[in-house]
Point group: C2
């Protein structure tokens, strides 16, 4: 009454055994269906389970059998559709395996990637999926690799999703063909006649930022179209960053006939800023994003972008983690993007002077 006044008492497997008049071992066997048990015994046990409303203790089971039901997913922000689409793919596969998915939000802080990885190791997670762009800080990457190796040594699995493999860690990666997607977008714009193109890169020092920008820049260079330094701005992968940077461009009097943002969220912000300035899209300025979030089809106007198979990527990563998908040669499978032409891109206005 004193030391456990508010302790919640659960019925245990031993209680079930007593009620059914069998040994705990037998109860365990019918619960897990792991060994043959006579029908009558099984009946008595299942009845006792029902009568006592017994619920197995997952921690005890995990400890004794050294198994785990949890699949950890590390994301920047679950409420960002880019990530929630990936998470949905993972969820579906995890449910198929009877696993539980744990969401860890880093809010973009690399340090939290590390601490969540450790937390998941403590939980003896069956696997962890690390999603989103990686920061390319070698120190951080080394620490991540160290934790990753620790996870593997523990018997856990690790899969990267939307980022490259970790150095010296035997973990596969599902990546996106960011470079190719950005190239396709650049080509499309050039073919339509655009020569003054602005580009909002996303946050510096992230793999995704670098890959998309490189694809874009190189394609432009190949086509002999210069990319004016003053038309390239960086910021977060957010709508606010797209909005702010577009306003900054406009305030500086920059001239451009097309504006490409490294993701869709930024493009929505850009569209809003252009609208506020009374600039017509696509007649005065063309706009394009990247990702093809579900909402692109409903924006004003519907956004031209590069579609990435987000949900499929999550599902694939989960299957790789579950061992239900063979690990490809080289350990990385790259998913292609696809140019989706909607209403925000047009030929550049013919009159000189750009968007004005």
């Amino acid at each position: 009454m004193t030391s456990r006044q508010r302790a919640a008492t659960s019925v245990t497997l031993a209680d079930v055994a007593a009620r059914a008049g069998v040994s705990p071992a037998t109860v365990s066997r019918v619960l897990n269906d792991s060994y043959p048990v006579s029908a009558s015994t099984r009946d008595r046990v299942t009845r006792a389970v029902r009568e006592l409303k017994y619920v197995v203790n997952g921690h005890a089971r995990a400890l004794a059998a050294s198994t785990s039901m949890v699949v950890g997913v590390i994301v920047n922000d679950v409420s960002d559709p880019f990530f929630s689409q990936i998470v949905r793919g993972i969820q579906t596969e995890a449910a198929h395996d009877g696993k539980l998915v744990v969401i860890c939000n880093t809010e973009g802080e690399p340090a939290r990637e590390l601490s969540y990885l450790e937390l998941l190791r403590q939980q003896r997670a069956h696997s962890v999926l690390l999603t989103g762009a990686a920061v390319d800080d070698p120190v951080h990457l080394a620490e991540l690799a160290e934790q990753g190796r620790g996870l593997l040594a523990q018997g856990g699995r690790l899969v990267l999703c939307g980022r490259p493999r970790l150095p010296d860690v035997d973990a596969p990666a599902v990546t996106f063909a960011n470079h190719a997607g950005a190239s396709a977008l650049a080509r499309h714009l050039v073919e339509l006649g655009h020569r003054r193109i602005a580009y909002l890169t996303g946050p510096l020092g992230r793999t995704t930022t670098a890959e998309r920008f490189a694809g874009f820049r190189e394609q432009l260079a190949a086509a002999g179209v210069p990319l004016a330094p003053e038309l390239v701005l960086s910021g977060g992968f957010t709508r606010a960053a797209g909005y702010d940077n577009t306003r900054a461009l406009l305030a500086a009097g920059a001239e451009f006939t097309a504006l490409v943002t490294a993701n869709d969220a930024m493009a929505f912000g850009a569209l809003a800023a252009l609208r506020e300035h009374g600039i017509d899209v696509p007649d005065q300025v063309s706009v394009a994003g990247f990702d093809d979030l579900p909402f692109c089809v409903d924006s004003a106007p519907p956004l031209t972008t590069v579609r990435l198979p987000l949900t499929e990527a999550g599902a694939l990563a989960a299957r790789l983690a579950a061992g239900r998908e063979p690990v490809p040669f080289g350990g990385v499978v790259t998913l292609q993007g696809e140019l989706v032409v909607r209403r925000t891109v047009n030929r550049p206005p013919s009159q000189p002077g750009g968007q004005r």
Copy 2:
């Protein structure tokens, strides 16, 4: 070598104790900082932990200390912004408590609510948050209540979010003032002069559907504006349902000057359908949604809707579950919505004949 050929061996607390030359009890004490330990002993232990790269086994800890780090969240679909906003609020609070958030996607299937609740009970979840509209099937509700009581009896906590309390279960609820929000919307439309209003209800037999529709209908009735039965359609809470039902309305030649949908996702679908039919919003037909998803500001046109404090609701529910927020009298706290007037609503066209 045979029976454990691929068994992953982890370093245990006993290994750390041996290395540091102290007892396991002492290691546990420094790990948990639960009792005074001399500085020199503490140093030896922390060094051993580091050298051995020891990671505590959460299952063993949970079993011995009967504590749990997991907070379970049951949602219809994480990739639906309505839910991902709520989840984000929960995540933030959980991180504050050092807890891990487990996401369970029911895909709208009541049966999966039950099975996830049981899974969460197995994991001895610290608390579970049940979100989204409840189906008002008494049998299902009774089963849910039963599971809820079991969770409580186990020492877990339960909080409802976006749905009413469960019968005879001592669990608080965070609800939305759906009725009042829908009333406000109806009043706004009526004041602008709308008399022929269509309403897409969402799925039948859900609390949210019923509450919003009741608020809307009753306000209209109070204003003496009839709600024509042929202008009320039901379907899912999805963009597709909004699109399909709007097309159905149009195909049937229905006449209306305003179209209200029970949530924003449906409104986006409705806007698309109207656009395809060449009907101008808001000059020919006004449209309004409910929820105020982040994207509303970017739709074509920006959507008039009722803002719900989704993230705050999730955070509040999580704090209630953590015991960091006092449970209000009656066990339910209702969060108010707020009418957000944007660009999809206007006066009805003056010429007779509705939208045509």
